[in-house]
Symmetry: C2
Subunit: 147 residues, 2 copies
DNA sequence: TTGAAATTGAAAACCACTTTCAAAAAGACC
DNA sequence: GGTCTTTTTGAAAGTGGTTTTCAATTTCAA
């Protein structure tokens, strides 16, 4: 199992250098946590809590700003499931959509090429040029159905 | 072209009567505006503004409460496109998804049975029980591509 | 080592709702 | 009609998740 955290950190350092930004101890803690396996969808507060175990003085604002920076660098996605807090996830190599349990919050990722193709057809039929899409399926996971 | 506003108003009056609620002049103004053709996706502020042309004293809170009531009565949907304000639309007979121009905000509705069927398959494969879904395609409409 | 520029934590501001509350309106029953 | 209980209203305050401000601190190129 590849442990790709160092790659991600190096990639961000390159981004930071090329944009006149600065590498700080706080950013190091935050991005190392964020890119540590397993791949997950994190609430900001969740990352903040983890980071504070390593550096108790890290602020909400710094975690917020760092995650936004990752999104701007193309290294993270900010998702808005439902209407509560947004979730951040490391951006990976391939696109995927989400299946979300409305009871326990479990998130399953899936990919379906047929749906993607049909989307393209729908868009073309209406004369649009597609930039991105959002597809979320909400329901009860197997566990929650039994309760 | 059928002008179905009176039906909707009558339907809401029946709902109101059967729930021990009261019909008011404000509710009359608001629902008549909301159900007046053409079918649209409205921001709350947009409806408020229209209603105030008819009754300048109508408040934000009353429009808000009336729209929520319509949603609870099953006569409107509240949509959360992007991250800003939510949009309300009269609920119609059949399900549809949305194609949204990121430049001018134009919204096109579409329906695709194949996508709906594949969604069911994806859900079943992961052992979920689907309750609802969200599918939005974002891009540039024909007009905005020319600019 | 210096110093301009970026970053930080704390706190305030922002924004889209959502709720509270006292006064007004609705409508069921005379 | 009038009476009375309940619901609704507008104004204002409260909420929650972000987003910005600002003075002090840190980074890092020179
Ligand atoms: Mn994901
Ligand atoms: Mn619609
Ligand atoms: Zn579940
Ligand atoms: Zn457009």
């Amino acid at each position: 199992m590849p442990h790709r955290k160092p790659d991600k950190v190096a990639q961000l350092q390159k981004y930071i250098a090329s944009h006149g930004l600065k590498w700080t101890s706080q950013r190091s803690v935050i991005v190392n946590r964020f890119f540590a396996p397993p791949h997950r969808h994190y609430r900001l507060e969740e990352i903040l809590e983890k980071c504070r175990r390593e550096d108790a003085s890290i602020s909400y604002a710094t975690v917020y700003r760092t995650l936004i920076m990752l999104v701007e660098a193309g290294m993270a996605y900010q998702r808005h499931f439902g209407k509560g807090q947004s979730l951040f996830e490391p951006s990976g190599s391939h696109h995927h959509d989400h299946l979300i349990c409305t009871d326990c919050g479990a998130i399953v990722e899936f990919e379906n090429q047929t749906i993607e193709k049909i989307q393209e057809m729908v868009v073309k039929k209406h004369g649009f040029k597609l930039t991105h899409h959002k597809m979320e399926l909400y329901g009860l996971c197997a566990k929650c159905q039994k309760k």
